[in-house]
């Protein structure tokens, strides 16, 4: 009796384990399939000219440099606005705000901001930055729109990273005559930094891949040069991909997949950096 129960438990454990492995495979396979497929289709298009040249012949030939540079500028612009603001907001929420109705409202707002569809951000940016503030369809307006979209991600990740730093460090620092701000700057922030950077990169990575928010606010259908001021419109990889996939007749397949490959490499590259930072910090962490 006892031994048969033993076998049963063993069997059900193995069954459960196999089931979980299967589920994991089902989730991983599509991701791998997409990446492998895009690499196979897109790799032949990748050449020095493709990466460093301007589009020619109605974008059917030549390179995608303006889109690559545009996406880089947009990501950078988004970082300039959203990173300081996001980290400051997280410091306020984690270190200074008292738990009361106002704080709770702020938190609810942040959570809901994260759930708003990106096209709505696009419309909002069009109204506020392009028309009301008269920035026009520009890098600046698009970066600001992407910043608003990215902020909730950065705030949540940074707040979590700050809260993960043991409370005892703060108590000790203050007991040694530190002010609250000295404690944050010298102890809490350095300890939370890897977590904050990871959150920042993940937020920016999403911004880099978005089409809808920049559609009305800064993206150019075709621009045969690089943007030369923040008030210039710009090409961008995701929007360029949309354009050459749907708006240009007789578009060579290879260029579409090549563009997708560059975009994916850009985003996954950022992801890789985040992963490296996180694992390094974990190995060095002293608590």
């Amino acid at each position: 009796m006892k031994s048969s129960m033993h076998i049963n438990q063993n069997l059900s454990q193995r069954l459960g384990f196999s089931l979980l492995s299967l589920v994991m495979l089902i989730t991983v396979i599509p991701i791998l399939a997409v990446i492998v497929y895009i690499i196979l289709q897109g790799a032949p298009a990748i050449s020095w000219e493709f990466l460093s040249g301007f589009p020619r012949d109605g974008m059917r030939q030549g390179g995608i440099l303006p889109a690559i540079v545009g996406t880089f500028y947009l990501t950078l612009g988004t970082a300039i606005f959203s990173v300081p603001l996001g980290i400051a907001a997280a410091i306020y929420l984690a270190e200074y705000a008292r738990e009361n109705v106002v704080t709770r409202l702020i938190r609810i707002a942040i959570i809901n901001l994260a759930g708003i569809p990106s096209v709505v951000y696009g419309l909002f940016g069009l109204g506020l930055f392009v028309f009301f503030l008269k920035f026009g369809t520009s890098l600046l307006a698009a970066s600001l729109t992407l910043s608003i979209m990215t902020l909730p991600v950065i705030i949540s990740a940074a707040e979590e990273a700050l809260r993960a730093v043991p409370q005892a460090f703060r108590t000790v620092s203050i007991s040694l005559g530190g002010t609250r701000w000295q404690t944050i700057r010298r102890i809490v922030l350095p300890q939370a930094l890897p977590g904050i950077i990871t959150g920042v990169i993940l937020g920016l990575e999403r911004a880099a891949g978005e089409t809808a928010p920049i559609l009305f606010t800064g993206a150019a259908f075709f621009l045969p040069r690089l943007p030369n001021s923040p008030f210039d419109a710009t090409m961008a990889l995701p929007y360029h991909l949309f354009v050459i996939s749907t708006q240009v007749p007789e578009m060579p397949f290879q260029i579409q997949y090549g563009t997708a490959l560059v975009l994916i490499a850009f985003v996954l590259g950022m992801n890789l950096i985040a992963t490296v930072i996180r694992s390094r910090a974990r190995a060095k962490r002293q608590w």
């Binding site: 460090f169 108590t171 000790v172 040694l176 005559g177 530190g178 002010t179 010298r186 002293q286 608590w287």
Partner: protein, 251 residues
């Protein structure tokens, strides 16, 4: 001479329950005053009031004064930063800051704006010697503080407080996690330190209280039952409850 004079101090938690009821107690300078009694007696709350660390916690002052050389430190206008440099605290669990051994020791001075390397070096050596840790770590000051053993970490925490050149040292069960050998080292260090500092110790056992106390105060459920010279309290207590606790009949 009394370094600290506590007058009619009452504390409560933010939920309204009482922590300490109408405590009056003198803490003489250049001596070890021990606050002892069963858990929940309000000893730690009192200790935290003495350098206003209770500002960070749930404990509120209801009434009373704490005079440090005549100044009421519970006054809202007190410069708490200056107070905490003057009245340092060692906690039950050694909390080593995520810095090097040296970084831990210079932390308080750097917060106060001290940047001269010679001053910092001097403070590191002096405080480590006082905490009886110098010989063990002088070759490895650049290593992370966390690399030290538990007993060394606690002496590092003591040294870190000493580097600030305080006048009063508060210790909240500083040896509760340590082995007997490390405990003895900390207690020895305290015996030397009391010549120059005022020490307030919440011990982790009655035995430690008896070993270390120049003066002792017995706390029970928020009440100060009795305080006197250590010899007096542990050999000839006036109050029956003190006697019962000291002799191990409850606790």
């Amino acid at each position: 001479m009394n370094k600290l004079i506590i007058q009619n101090l009452s504390l409560q938690y933010s939920d309204g329950t009482e922590s300490l009821r109408d405590i009056s107690l003198n803490i003489p300078s250049n001596a070890i005053t021990v606050l002892f009694g069963p858990a929940g007696g309000g000893k730690s709350s009192l200790l935290r009031c003495l350098n206003r660390l209770n500002d960070l916690t749930e404990v509120r002052v209801v009434s009373g004064k704490v005079l440090l050389e005549g100044e009421n430190i519970l006054d809202p206008n007190t410069d708490v930063i200056a107070l905490r440099r003057k009245v340092g605290m060692v906690f039950a669990r050694p909390v080593v800051l995520p810095l090097t051994i040296r970084g831990n020791l210079t932390y308080g001075l750097e917060l106060a704006g001290e940047q001269r390397k010679s001053r910092l070096d001097e403070a590191v050596e002096r405080s480590l010697k006082l905490a009886a840790l110098w010989d063990e770590v002088k070759e490895r000051l650049g290593e992370p503080g966390i690399a030290l053993s538990g007993g060394q970490q606690q002496r590092l925490c003591l040294a870190r407080v000493l580097a600030n050149q305080p006048e009063v040292i508060l210790l909240d069960e500083p040896t509760s996690g340590l082995d007997p050998l490390s405990t003895a080292k900390v207690e020895e260090a305290l015996q030397v330190l009391k010549q120059d500092y005022t020490i307030v110790l919440v011990p982790h056992s009655v035995q430690q209280a008896a070993r270390t106390a120049d003066y002792a105060a017995f706390f029970l459920q928020g009440e100060l039952v009795e305080w006197a010279e250590g010899k007096e309290i542990f050999t000839n207590p006036q109050n029956k409850r003190t006697e019962d606790y000291v002799e191990g009949r409850f606790g």
